[in-house]
Symmetry: C2
Subunit: 474 residues, 2 copies
């Protein structure tokens, strides 16, 4: 750390502002905040600020702007791309919004709720459920991730095919800007055409343009009927054909449509306790989740009719239908435990990519083949959200290969997958964002006019470059 920079960090003034509960400076207290949960990065920081209110945060940000102190916003610290981890300089102050976790409002008539940034996603789901409504955002990290974090990342998850990403679930925001101004934009309106849509700029900006401190979120009707089926399908094209059959029959019924490879399903059976697969031994699977707010939707009849057609067409080879909540949860577990099963099996390289929905079969086949050419014996474990085009194109180390040797090829693997993604008109980051992990890809993928505009916006809103430096933009 250069000596001329160190004194700038105003720990005494931060402490006076935030009080004893609001500032951690003991290295033991700070340590858990310094690395991301994937253990990709470990940074350094002199302090973790924990403001208790928007006003406190605004005062903190003004102080940091005055003293040129860079800040790293943090929610549940579940970023998949190091989005909330400070760099190694020791100059960046971590700002955790965990204490700002009030549910400010829930209105079942408007079907909206207003949450502070630190509300955990699962708590938001539960609050909605208690009011007889549904907050549909759902993904693996929901027990830890916070509303501020999922909005800053524009999280997706399993239900995007029906409800959209975090962005589509948001109507209004409260934001502390880089100069410490507070934008009070917590509007509960479905229509509001009054100038630039600033709320969409802060969603997905990963804290590089300001702090999202609260949000108005949309609620939906709870499901009164649900059906879940695990289907063995003939190949990747058949998987997509089955999706089309359901979508064509009732486009509003499909709540999730997940692809899994036979390799991934077998890893689940091998590595997870009580990992039972009712229809084992196939090369390709899909998990179909149907839901309706109608009590008389007749989803079971719809499910059986579509599966019968798909079996006659040779697309579906076998199917297991959940007959109870417990069975439906057990089928979902096969999909949800994929990351854990991969971890227990050894080293793996993750690729969070998307393509147009129609290209998902080609993505899976071509990327798997290209990686097999790159590293003979590599085990492709593609899985994920076929219904919205987002496949987690993961690769498991070859049996017998050293994990470290395999991980040393991570960059080559990502490049190989991304080459296919690019040819198919896809994206190198579907739902995890850029963070620190993918900033060096921005120039090649978004360079030219697009990156130019992003950088102009960054400079216009955060001219000192103090908001989450080193993230998103190269």
């Amino acid at each position: 750390m250069p000596d001329d920079l160190a004194p700038r960090i105003p720990l005494d003034r931060l402490g006076a502002l935030l009080g004893p509960r609001g500032l951690l400076t003991d290295p033991g207290d700070i340590a858990p905040y310094l690395s991301d949960w994937r253990a990709l990065y470990t940074g350094a920081s002199p302090a973790v600020a924990r403001p208790a209110s928007t006003d406190e945060l605004a005062a903190l940000v003004r102080l940091c702007a005055e003293t040129r102190t860079p800040v790293v916003p943090m929610g549940g610290n579940t970023s998949m791309v190091g989005g909330a981890t400070p760099d190694e300089s020791g100059r960046q102050v971590i700002v955790s919004l965990a204490r700002m976790n009030r549910l400010r409002d829930l209105d079942p008539l408007d079907m909206t709720m207003t949450c502070e940034a630190g509300v955990v996603v699962k708590a938001a789901q539960e609050a909605a459920a208690e009011a007889g409504c549904l907050f549909p955002l759902s993904f693996g990290g929901e027990g830890t991730a916070t509303i501020g974090g999922v909005l800053s990342t524009n999280a997706g998850g399993n239900t995007t095919v029906r409800y959209g990403n975090a962005r589509e679930l948001m109507l209004g925001l409260e934001v502390v800007l880089p100069d410490g101004q507070v934008w009070h934009g917590l509007r509960r309106l479905r229509k509001d055409n009054t100038g630039y849509a600033l709320r969409h700029l802060f969603v997905g900006a990963e804290g590089t343009l300001g702090f999202i401190t609260a949000a108005v979120l949309r609620l939906f009707a709870r499901a009164r009927e649900t059906e879940v089926a695990l289907c063995a399908v003939a190949d990747e094209e058949a998987a997509l054909a089955v999706f089309r059959r359901f979508r064509d029959r009732d486009e509003t019924a499909v709540r999730a449509f997940e692809y899994m490879s036979g390799t991934g399903v077998a890893l689940y059976a091998k590595c997870i306790e009580n990992g039972v697969v009712p229809i084992p031994g196939h090369a390709h699977y899909v998990l179909v989740d149907l839901a309706s707010s109608r009590p008389d939707a007749g989803l079971r009849g719809l499910l059986e009719a579509v599966l019968e057609e798909a079996m006659e067409a040779g697309e579906v080879l076998d199917a297991a239908l959940g007959e109870s909540d417990a069975q439906r949860a057990a089928l979902w577990r096969i999909r949800e435990e994929h990351p854990e099963a991969q971890k227990r099996e050894g080293a793996s390289v993750k690729n969070d990519v998307s393509v147009p929905v129609s290209k998902t079969p080609e993505l899976i086949r071509r990327a798997s083949a290209a990686c097999a050419r790159l590293i003979p014996g590599v085990r492709p474990v593609p899985f994920g959200h076929m219904g919205d085009g987002n496949i987690h194109m993961n690769l498991q180390q070859p049996e017998g290969m050293e994990g470290a040797a395999f991980l040393a090829r991570s960059h080559d693997i990502m490049e190989t997958v991304n080459e296919v993604v690019r040819e198919l008109g896809g994206s190198f980051s579907a739902e995890h964002g850029i963070g620190r992990l993918k900033t060096d890809m921005m120039e090649s993928w978004r360079g030219g006019a697009e990156l130019d505009v992003m950088q102009r916006i960054k400079a216009a809103l955060d001219p000192q470059g103090l908001m989450n430096p080193g993230k998103v933009l190269p």
Copy 2:
């Protein structure tokens, strides 16, 4: 026009660039482009440029940037707020995108279509229908308005309650930036978290940040069942209660839910040829439109069950159900001809406002009462999209009052309505945008941090202020 500014407009170079079909300079040819269709404004312009391609437009914009020539983007010229009308200086060149009207792509597997900016909305609807799909954006001006215009305005319309605004129907954009760079962002992805969501910045910017030249739009399944009912309801609260009943029963079935006052319905019967109202003489009406892609959705049963409950609860007093496509269209006509009926009856003041859905009854009652206090005898004609909180809170001149005298009070009326809207947490422009009409309200409604950020973004992207000057920002 100051003499030192006049020579800057490079008509000869524009002509060389665009060819004879691409540049109109004859005053007779230009005249139709100089006023908005509501006849609120008439501006002046030396030329109408009509580029035939994105490259031509980019070259045009570079030339205008070089010569500091302000430009006014125009689509179908159906703005309700003078958003596409030049000012009186004679310096602003109108740029019509009408010739850029190709459907570049339609993919029923991805459920997307790629339209150039000049494609008329109705043509987009028809292209989707031919492919067995639905492009759901629907509103009065759809036969003239263009895709570029509805995206630049973030148009709403009747189906927002089910499908969202124009913004929610858009996945990717192609944009010519103020410096003439082209951003090729026509991505067909449901998930793409790679930096700031620029597409959302251009949607609703009304051409002040660049030209939208093409867009990837989402398609949906066509309806296989539809039901339409006109219901007389007890009061404003009963109207909302009926909406809740439908939404709670099946949140995906409600395609539109429109409120109409007895005054407006009576004006329709009086002023429109063959304007038949099957259940006349009531003070409040709602039009319910249900649709499903399921052929066995059972919407008639749902409709009758909900209406029966609502009648027992005293909310619905009478109802007329459409028994055929012709009857359903006739019921819709009552709602769609409201603007024309108002026009034929004399002078009226339009207010395109929104509030949280739960506040729509209060908005209608309080704004009507406040306007009656302001102008005794005034006839409130509130109607519109109760299901998304957007009420067209229109006021008809008192019988016997001079139209001009009434219109002289327009500003007072708008202020009176807006005062109620503000108290209810609403917006002074729901779906029509700001244009030229409402720029002077921006400071009072969006001033402070929000307007500050908007102005910084404008300065960052359009430092010379050449893109649609005088619109949106004060």
